[in-house]
Symmetry: C2
Subunit: 182 residues, 2 copies
Amino acid sequence: MKFCSECSSPVELAIPDGDNRPRHICNSCNTIHYVNPKIVAGCLAHWEDKVLLCKRAIEPRYGLWTLPAGFMENGESTEQAALRETWEEATAKVSIQHLYTMYSIPHISHVYLLFRGQLDNLAFKPGVESLDVKLFTEDEIPWGQLAFPVVTRTLKQYFQDRRNDHYPLDTDTIIKPGTTSS
Amino acid sequence: MKFCSECSSPVELAIPDGDNRPRHICNSCNTIHYVNPKIVAGCLAHWEDKVLLCKRAIEPRYGLWTLPAGFMENGESTEQAALRETWEEATAKVSIQHLYTMYSIPHISHVYLLFRGQLDNLAFKPGVESLDVKLFTEDEIPWGQLAFPVVTRTLKQYFQDRRNDHYPLDTDTIIKPGTTSS
């Protein structure tokens, strides 16, 4: 951010009075511009012993497989965001059962909220952001071709939980590879 | 938003190619400015049969009681945000047990994430955003003086769950009073 989005004056990075972190501040109209983490909402959609994955048609990680998920929009609930993304990426209808994984990724300021849900039917097909959409059993998952660590983590957790037919919420913080947690 | 924060040109509200919602777009440098929901993270901190509430020293809802919570910042996890807010508002140290309530509030684009946790000790006192900080039993809760519907909802859920000593995640969408869910 270089300019104030309210008055177009240059902004400076400084700690506002009564605050403890640097913010972009406009000294002309006194607006403080806050930036906050984004929610990525999506679905682990299952059918019998299989889960639905999408092959990405966009960067980053073009051509790798992922769970349908994307940025939550203003004006929707977390569940609505997860269902919308699943529809946009896989043209799939899902009945959400419960929040299944919540992962914070502080180094990119994302919070993943993935819901476990049952596919309503098999009438799915790739949306514009997907090259392909398929159901995979545990043995068929392309483990070496998954797009993001949170996808690998959620799928491993799911197939483990499936053995006990018990799916407790899994929450964690994903640390940038090569660094240690504070 | 009136001006581009990257180049200071006026922005217009339009649907970008390949998108389906209006965004603020800069036709000079081609930046698309996305706005996403904010996470409000906090704690339901308990001690014996009591929970910790803060009397707000700031607007909105000055003078009303709330659970310690506030906007999650970039670079932190949801749990870190909840603990930081609890420290800032109540100077209280808490050991988080689990995510307890997740409420979407689409009409203001907030997602509440409240964690249940045990107070580490009784050395709490008001932070700068609080007039007072106190422990309340169920009978003592100032039900008519609570700041936000999500606070009332979480406290009611908590004292009900406490009877069974079982605290499942409560998720819901809070609809604007006077409207109906779509």
